[in-house]
């Protein structure tokens, strides 16, 4: 489906009294590219934001302050309106976003061909776009620098979500939800048919209790983690207060600084020592001489027994093919079958290589005393750190009486918090421990509680006679999930190839490639890129994303070139029109050099210059390249 923006307009919105931008200019031809020149601070961001809101239908949730923020500062307007004309395939839609400044409410009106009675209240979308035109989705084609950063931010799943939604992969998630609903309905129907059975009621209550208990434990775990973090924050806060008490005393400040820096130094030494210990303890012969003696004895035994050669499965396989056994007896069909059957009890080629590797390691290892030395150093270091901490604690004793009282109160609260954190840590460790950990049970452990719930659920399924049906449905869900992962991966792979082709054309001075899409775009061997490069990569990605989608979206961008150097601007300007079927670009006069001017030689470009006014005078829009370029010159002067 081809989606095109045909125009938009304002009535009593901030600096705009009334302004209509008809991109068709009264005709039927829609330009491929529209360049809209607006000065900074005249409403570019407002326009982008209103375009998003008029399409995503979420403005009805705005609070009164948000609605009134669009009210012109001068004049007595009680209502504002932003509208957009948009074509979905062959259907023309007109959306009004009405801002009631008096009541502080936003509402929508929609009209489209085929709708009786002109404008209707509410926000209506074509059937195919319901569920697609979400707030997040619209941000992907009504674009700005923030959205570009999200595409490359490690904390964001923006890039992956874009593929999922644009290619409607999420439909497979919906199918899974439908399967789950169907299973639940079958269970309820079966439940009502067999309502006489008391075991059914018992099983259902049991399953519900187990599920609730599991959910309670999950909630408790979240609460424990939150409390721990709150206590830790408070502890740090108290520690800062304590430090402040000391450093506010000139006599003690230097001592405090010296001790703190010594403590930090010793802590660093301790950390590096712990790393050595961590590596050394992985070698058991270094931990205790008993392990060393046992390993050496194992090596001797292996050599005595000529392990692993004498027990190879292949030996018996070869033997079964011989006419006679090593003992001289003939090997017939019956003996051959018996030997082959038992051959599997012995080691095969794959096992042999593992055993040979073990033997090799046993033969070649040598003990070192490094672990013992490191452990001794660790004890000394811990004592030193403890001694520095004691010296730090004692500094408060040199304070005046009031400060000492305050320091004591801080120390008391810190000690109390420390105990609480320890208690919470223990509780979290038990809650989070893997299933089967000693001292855990379904009463105190999330994994055990989940297992108990799942078992109770299976018992209920058996009691309702839907066990087999549920198992089949689960297997079907696994197939669908596999298809989802594979299809998504294939789409991501092909989008990465297309993105990299475009990036290579735009960023000629610096070799940047996208490695994969894992939530966000992951770059090859790069952790940071410039703002201009971020935008160039994001445009390449969005352009590639739209390339094979079933929807052809317009692409609206706010100040695309502001942060780019001239070289990148020229490349972006020459490539970006090839990425999108309709392009609406908001620029400032500062983006003409290297960027907007590149469009002057292109065909099918509409130029619009909007001049917002500070006073009550109407904001105007002038179409035409001459005015656009002249306005630029005036601005420069």
């Amino acid at each position: 489906m081809e989606i095109k923006i045909l125009g938009w307009g304002y009535e009593n919105i901030r600096r705009f009294n009334t302004l209509d931008l008809d991109l068709l200019q009264g005709g039927t031809h829609l330009s491929h590219v529209t360049l809209v020149m607006m000065r900074n601070g005249t409403g570019k961001t407002t326009t982008i934001s209103l375009m998003r809101s008029v399409l995503n239908g979420t403005a009805t949730n705005w609070n009164p302050e948000e609605v009134r923020s669009y009210k012109p500062t001068k004049g007595q307007a009680s209502q504002g309106k932003f509208y957009i004309k948009i074509k979905f395939g062959t259907e023309l839609y007109h959306y009004n976003l009405i801002l009631d400044y008096e009541r502080g409410r936003a509402s929508y009106e929609t009209s489209h061909v085929g709708m009786s009675g002109g404008l209707e209240q509410g926000h209506t979308l074509p059937m195919q776009l319901k569920g697609v035109f979400t707030k997040e989705f619209i941000n992907r084609f009504i674009f700005d620098g923030e959205q570009a950063k999200k595409t490359l931010s490690a904390d964001s799943k923006e890039a992956e979500l874009a593929v999922t939604y644009l290619y409607q992969i999420e439909k497979l998630d919906n199918l899974i939800s439908e399967i789950n609903s169907l299973v639940q309905r079958k269970q309820s129907e079966s439940d009502s048919k067999g309502a006489t059975s008391s075991s059914l009621s018992y099983n259902r209550t049991r399953m519900e209790n187990k599920r609730n208990h599991y959910l309670n434990l999950v909630t408790r775990r979240d609460k424990v983690i939150l409390q721990m973090s709150q206590y830790q924050t408070r502890w740090v806060d108290l520690e800062n207060q304590r430090t402040e008490l000391i450093t506010s005393d000139e006599r003690l400040r230097q001592d405090q600084l010296n001790l703190t820096s010594r403590k930090a130094l010793k802590n660093n030494e301790l950390n590096s020592l712990l790393q050595t210990i961590g590596t050394e303890v992985k070698e058991p012969f270094n931990i205790h001489s008993l392990f060393d003696a046992r390993l050496k004895s194992l090596m001797n035994n292996m050599q005595t027994l000529k392990l692993p050669k004498t027990t190879a499965r292949e030996f018996f396989k070869e033997l079964s093919e011989s006419p006679e056994c090593v003992c001289g007896r003939p090997i017939g069909q019956e003996e051959k079958v018996a030997i082959l059957k038992r051959a599997d009890n012995y080691l095969g080629e794959d096992d042999l290589s593992v055993i040979n590797a073990i033997k090799d390691s046993l033969r070649n290892y040598s003990t070192s005393g490094e672990l013992t030395i490191a452990l001794e150093q660790m004890i000394t270091l811990k004592e030193e750190i403890q001694s520095i901490q004691s010296a730090l604690d004692r500094l408060v004793l040199h304070l005046d009486e009031e400060a000492i009282r305050k320091a004591e109160s801080i120390a008391e609260e810190q000690s109390d918090i420390k105990q609480k954190i320890l208690g919470l840590q223990q509780e979290r460790d038990i809650l989070d421990a893997p299933y089967g950990t000693p001292n855990t049970s379904e009463q105190n452990n999330v994994a055990a509680a989940e297992k108990a719930w799942k078992e109770a659920e299976e018992n209920l399924q058996r009691a309702t006679g839907t066990y087999e049906y549920t198992q089949k449905a689960n297997k079907l869900i696994i197939y669908i999930n596999n298809i989802r992962s594979l299809a998504l991966q294939k789409l991501k792979d092909s989008i990465i190839i297309k993105t990299n082709e475009k990036v290579e054309r735009i960023l000629t001075d610096d070799r940047i490639t996208v490695d994969k899409i894992d939530g966000s775009l992951i770059l090859h061997d790069r952790t940071a890129v410039s703002e201009g490069q971020t935008l160039a990569i994001a445009y390449s990605y969005i352009g590639s994303l739209f390339e094979h989608s079933s929807f052809e979206f317009p692409f609206v961008i706010d100040s695309p070139a502001a942060s780019m150097d001239l070289g990148v601007r020229r490349e972006v300007a020459s490539i970006i029109p090839t990425l999108f079927k309709q392009l609406i670009i908001f620029v400032t006069s500062g983006e003409v050099a290297g960027f907007a001017e590149k469009f002057y030689s292109m065909d099918d470009v509409l130029y619009a210059t909007i001049e917002g006014k500070e006073n009550n005078e109407k904001a105007t829009c002038t179409f035409g390249k001459d005015y656009f370029s002249a306005y630029q010159c005036e601005e420069e002067e």
Partner: protein, 62 residues
Amino acid sequence: MKLYEELSNAMNEVVSVTEESSDFKPRFTKLIENYFDSSYVERDIDDVIELINLSEGNSDGN
């Protein structure tokens, strides 16, 4: 359209390694295709579930 191409490839890959019956495979792929076109009925999902084979160790025999 690209999605259908990749979806179709993924379906073929997944279905080819299952040990489901020859009845299941076409019904399953048709279900997914119809689901994307919104031209399915709930009965189709039910039928495909019933065609699943549990003999690969997914059932305890009950």
